[in-house]
């Protein structure tokens, strides 16, 4: 495509007398909104075709209700393909007061033009197009042309470029606008190497819609689309040369069952609009542009002072010091920056820069927050949040949620309230389940702020939960957003849990944690697909500690749960079995490991407990289990405490006898290993070990053979080993030892009888001693 071709096409595009007039927009540009309104008023088009989801056309009248902007069209679908991880997806088409699309809808309606969206339904391009907000200008931002032009015009980035050539010109005429915007967009397109497949498809589809409208309506047709597409649409329709229009197939929208898709209005906010970055980048600082739009509407010259005043208020609200001198400095800098940048009045970037430069007195790192910059952005963002008019449709899920909340009397109110549930009460349990379901769907307004922690399980004496409920403006929109998961709450939660499971890395412990979460949302949500997916994750777990932790969670659900109704739930058998056999296998594989002893022994304990409690249900073969443990116990590559633990397990389940254990003990009689072995043995065979006098006797014999040094070496780990016993148990063991040694008078330690003054004196000496230790800096060695 030659420069002359570009010129020719631009000339055609700027022609407002043609049958089909193309109006290029930058989404959310007030200047474009203003001018599209003017154009519609003068052109009185028979039809206004707008870049928007054509599957919304049947509900178009809803848009004309009395909404408070910003709002968005939310389009969602569930794909039948369950293998993919992203089969519940949704996107937004956001509108704010100053959106050119919105202006076109309103003015078109006033001018009695036919209104239509002409873009390909999103579900047809969803596979190749990643952005979740449809009105963004990612396409305009990137590319060599923009970079070169920014350098030429000496501006920093695309936002500034647009401000420079269009937005900050208060009195830009329609002809000027068309010329500049079309040339800019066409050149960007021209310099762009690849036009994506989804763009080509959408443009082919839009061209066809224009053609249909042209045949249908008498009179001029106005096409309002992103500037990036205008040129291609005209070129496709009228045979001009243009980049990326060579394929001719017009795609048919992908057919999706009605139950699996939806397109509805939802509320939106400036907050959401402003936070768009990356693929989703749009026009920043909506509050600023709204201000500019209002002034433009009123025919006034742009004045930044109201914004500056708001900024001062915001800063003072945040307890930032801002003196009059500072304000003068900000104002001066802003004016000077505007002058340096060749502008008539202070614009967006000038304000931000003036504040950064005059108020921040510290290093400012990239991405680092500063209260001043935050305040500027908060003011330039604005707080506006939309509200839908009565009569707009809502997806079935939203009514389901409302109905269920009402049934259980948990409706959200403006005032915040707290509720507390006793999970052993059936009514309370139902309520808790409902709230957990809503939390799983990330619906706003519910917060669980206390209760039994079923993952830590420190305190299971009382099963309770407390929740805070309070209406937030995001409640409705989050319900609508969740609609992509299903039409009923139960389906949606099941789908959402499954998605979460699929999105996770193979980590058995988080799989089990997810299962606990699902159990909290009600046993109904434990779908076979979810269990399958979690089972796969457990089966793929390579780490013993994670697998055994999963086993611990599962054992709790399967054996000890009193509230959720998962005890001995048949559906869970397979997954418990998987976790059990996986943990056992990993135990056998275990070599020298960096895991600390506590984790390993805890894992072994859950294996033992599973065997003891539900071995029959899981149909574990006793001799197989025993032989695995024997192998572990005999494996010289394993750390002593694991081998001790295995010996303890065998002893506890009665597959070995005391003599063998004593033999093993002698094998580990080395001072480096004795304590570790005993730690394992005692943790896994606590009951048997203390009932066996010979064991203590043998330990005693071994210790007596140690020299002083050896004893010192063995002591710390021996201490650890005996911590598994309570003082009473230790006393009992000692008594049996003394008895077997023929010593009679075993008494608990005698209490010393000392008078108060002796105690005081002793304390004073001790204090002096510690003082001296501190004085010479010996504290550490003392420890």
């Amino acid at each position: 495509m030659q420069d002359s071709d570009v010129r020719k096409l631009v000339d055609r595009l700027c022609d407002t007398k043609a049958d089909v007039v193309y109006f290029p927009v930058r989404h959310h540009s007030p200047a474009a909104a203003m001018l599209v309104g003017q154009l519609i008023d003068s052109l009185k088009p028979a039809a206004v075709l707008i870049e928007g989801p054509s599957d919304y056309n049947e509900h178009f009248d809803e848009l004309l209700l009395d909404h408070q902007l910003p709002i968005a069209i939310y389009s969602y679908f569930r794909s039948a393909d369950t293998g993919s991880t992203e089969n519940h997806r949704g996107v937004y088409y956001p509108f704010c007061e100053y959106s050119p699309e919105w202006a076109a809808i309103n003015r078109g309606h006033q001018a009695r033009s036919a209104l239509r969206f002409i873009d390909l339904p999103w579900s047809s391009v969803a596979d190749t197009d990643r952005s979740t907000h449809r009105y963004t200008d990612a396409k305009l931002r990137r590319g060599r042309y923009v970079r070169a032009l920014c350098e030429r015009l000496q501006v920093e980035d695309f936002d500034d470029l647009w401000d420079r050539i269009i937005e900050s010109h208060q009195d830009i005429t329609l002809a000027d606008y068309l010329n500049r915007a079309h040339s800019l967009c066409l050149n960007i397109r021209q310099w762009e190497q690849n036009i994506s497949a989804s763009d080509r498809q959408r443009e082919a589809f839009m061209t066809k819609q224009i053609d249909i409208a042209w045949r249908e309506f008498q009179g001029p047709i106005l096409v309002v689309t992103g500037g990036f597409h205008s040129g291609a649409l005209a070129a496709r329709s009228e045979g001009f040369a243009c980049a990326g229009i060579d394929d001719t197939d017009v795609p048919e929208p992908v057919a999706i069952e009605a139950a699996n898709r939806g397109i509805v209005l939802t509320t939106y906010s400036y907050d959401q609009l402003d936070s768009l970055t990356g693929y989703d980048a749009g026009m920043p600082n909506p509050g600023f542009y709204e201000h500019a739009w209002r002034q433009r509407q009123a025919g006034e010259v742009f004045n930044h002072q109201p914004l500056l005043l708001r900024l001062v208020e915001a800063l003072r609200e945040r307890n930032q010091i801002l003196s009059t001198a500072d304000l003068i400095a900000v104002e001066t800098s802003a004016q000077a920056l505007a002058a340096l940048r060749g502008r008539q009045h202070v614009w967006r970037r000038d304000l931000i820069d003036a504040v950064t430069s005059s108020l921040i007195k510290d290093e400012l790192e990239y991405g680092c927050e500063s209260p001043f910059v935050d305040a500027v952005h908060a003011v330039l963002r604005g707080k506006r949040r939309g509200q839908l008019a009565e009569g707009a449709r809502v997806p079935p899920l939203v009514s389901d949620i409302r109905q269920q909340l009402e049934m259980l009397e948990l409706q959200l109110e403006r005032s915040i309230r707290s509720v507390e549930f006793d999970l052993l009460e059936q009514d309370d349990l139902c309520k808790s389940r409902l709230l957990h379901q809503l939390q799983t769907l990330e619906i706003d307004g519910f917060r669980c702020d206390g209760g039994t922690d079923f993952l830590v399980r420190n305190d299971l004496e009382r099963l309770w939960e407390s929740w805070t409920l309070g209406w937030t403006p995001d409640f409705e929109s989050s319900c609508i957003e969740a609609s992509r998961y299903g039409t009923t709450l139960r389906n949606a939660v099941t789908a959402r849990l499954l998605e979460e499971a699929d999105a996770q890395q193979s980590d058995a412990a988080s799989a089990a944690a997810l299962l606990v979460k699902a159990a909290q949302s009600g046993v109904d949500t434990l779908s076979p697909a979810l269990l399958d997916s979690l089972e796969r994750m457990i089966a793929a777990e390579p780490r013993f500690d994670r697998a055994s932790m999963a086993l611990e969670h599962l054992l709790f659900l399967f054996c000890f749960d009193e509230a959720f109704g998962t005890t001995r739930l048949l559906r869970l058998t397979d997954i418990v079995h998987e976790a059990f056999s996986r943990s056992l296998w990993l135990l056998e594989l275990l070599g020298q490991t960096a895991l600390n002893d506590g984790t390993l022994l805890r894992g072994m304990k859950s294996i033992l407990e599973t065997y003891q409690r539900v071995g029959d249900v899981l149909e574990v073969n006793d001799s197989d289990f025993g032989s695995v443990l024997l192998r572990v116990q005999a494996d010289s590559h394993k750390p002593p405490h694991v081998r001790g633990g295995a010996a303890g397990m065998l002893w506890t389940i009665g597959q070995t006898n005391a003599d063998t254990v004593l033999g093993d003990l002698m094998y580990f009689a080395d001072p480096d290993h004795l304590g570790d072995f005993l730690t394992g043995l005692f943790s896994l065979a606590r009951e048997v070990a203390q009932r066996h006098p010979q064991l203590v006797r043998t330990i005693d014999d071994v210790l007596l053979q140690f020299g002083a040094d050896q004893f010192q070496t063995a002591l710390p780990s021996l201490r650890l080993a005996f911590t598994s016993f309570t003082p009473r148990e230790k006393h009992h063991m000692l008594s049996t030892l003394f008895e077997s040694l023929g010593l009679r008078n075993v008494e608990p330690l005698i209490q010393l009888a000392v008078d108060d003054s002796a105690v005081v004196e002793a304390l004073a000496i001790e204090e002096r001693l510690f003082e001296a230790v501190r004085h010479y800096g010996l504290e550490e060695s003392y420890d």
Partner: protein
């Protein structure tokens, strides 16, 4: 390119070749002259030699006028710096060591006042005399205090002639010395109590302002008094964000330094990429494909990269066959990375074993093979 231009003017040429490092206004004399000529009709802040736009063009370069960029940074940042200097506040440049703060202040002073030599070097030993003025004691005794016996220091000169004064490393000075700047910055006047009544107050001429630099690694700006902070606009100078720009700068500066040292060796693009990538990864604690790693305690600025490359070039020229090899870079990397913390060496070794090892191009391989140079 700047060199080529300077070579056209014989006076400049003779100065630039004999001096080890000519000041910016000498080195870029031609560019400054042409900019001054072009902006003669533009509005200028009082006392400025060039318009703010011309200053911006000088620093950031202009491809149309064949003027190279001298500093890599965001345009908005530079605009803010220049505007600060035109207001009644000083400009404080802060940032990590080696981010070209001093160089930027030199460029700004050269472009705005045509003189970058009014420089106060802040140090623990800086006294008021170094900043304001001192006396020629022989004349003081003979004639008493007066214009002749007064020895002006940079601040005095800047105020008298309406020029920018540079205050390097201001936070290295004692607090009471820093505060000498207070009255000068707010009232733009300096009292000289020794002089007779009429000359007791020195009022700054239009065009006077102060550019201070401070480095965030040494004693921080937090130690500055709030009163002094208030009189400065702070701007943070960041390390170069774009890797290709950093590579370009490292190659250009290295080659210029080598040329100046009369070493006919060039750093080729492969090695530049290798060096800059290594420095960036160690600096940011993140590999270019986004994996996290530990950062070093020393600063690895672009200037350090240039230093390492120059050392490698000189090494190659005098001790090898004149071809810079990855091994030379490794050897001199040790010097720039290892300052006082032996942990850093471990981290660099780990970097070689886990990051460099996986890269498959020839120069990266050679770089890895030379890892034994890391003593």
């Amino acid at each position: 390119m700047a060199k080529k231009k300077a070579a056209n003017s014989s006076a400049a040429a003779s100065v630039t070749t004999t001096l080890q490092r000519p000041s910016a206004e000498v080195q870029y004399a031609n560019e400054l002259a042409s900019l001054a000529k072009a902006s003669v009709k533009d509005a200028k802040p009082p006392g400025w030699k060039r318009s703010p736009r011309a200053v911006l063009t000088f620093v950031l370069g202009d491809t149309e006028r064949d003027m190279p960029a001298k500093f890599v940074g965001r345009r908005a940042f530079l605009e803010r710096c220049i505007v600060s200097l035109a207001t009644n506040r000083g400009l404080m440049l802060i940032g990590e060591p080696g981010t070209a703060k001093s160089y930027l202040s030199e460029l700004l002073a050269a472009a705005i006042s045509g003189d970058s030599t009014l420089t106060i070097q802040g140090s623990a030993g800086t006294t008021e005399d170094n900043i304001r003025y001192s006396w020629n004691y022989a004349l003081l005794v003979a004639e008493g205090p007066g214009e002749r016996s007064l020895v002006p220091a940079p601040l005095y000169l800047g105020m008298t002639h309406g020029k920018l004064v540079r205050f390097e490393e201001i936070t290295r000075c004692a607090l009471e010395i820093q505060d000498v700047m207070l009255s000068v910055l707010s009232d733009r006047v300096m009292a000289i109590p020794e002089l007779p009544e009429d000359n007791r107050m020195l009022y700054a001429k239009a065009g006077f302002n102060v550019i201070a630099t401070a480095n965030t690694r040494d004693r921080g700006v937090n130690e500055m008094s709030a009163a002094l902070k208030r009189r400065f606009n702070f701007e943070t100078v960041h390390p170069i964000a774009d890797i290709s720009q950093e590579m370009e700068l490292v190659a250009r500066e290295t080659n210029r330094n080598l040329e100046r040292a009369q070493v006919p060796v060039r750093l080729d693009s492969d090695l530049t990429e290798l060096l800059v990538t290594t420095f960036r990864e160690l600096r940011q604690g993140r590999t270019i494909d986004g994996k996290g790693m530990e950062t070093l305690s020393t600063t690895l600025s672009t200037a350090e990269a240039v230093g390492t490359a120059c050392a490698a070039g000189i090494h190659a020229y005098y001790f090898a066959d004149g071809q810079v090899e990855p091994a030379h870079l490794v050897r001199h990397l040790v010097g720039s990375v290892l300052k006082d913390n032996p942990e850093d060496l471990k981290k660099v070794r780990h970097y070689f074993d886990h990051v460099v090892k996986k890269r498959k191009t020839v120069s990266w391989k050679a770089f890895y093979d030379a890892r034994n140079e890391l003593i």
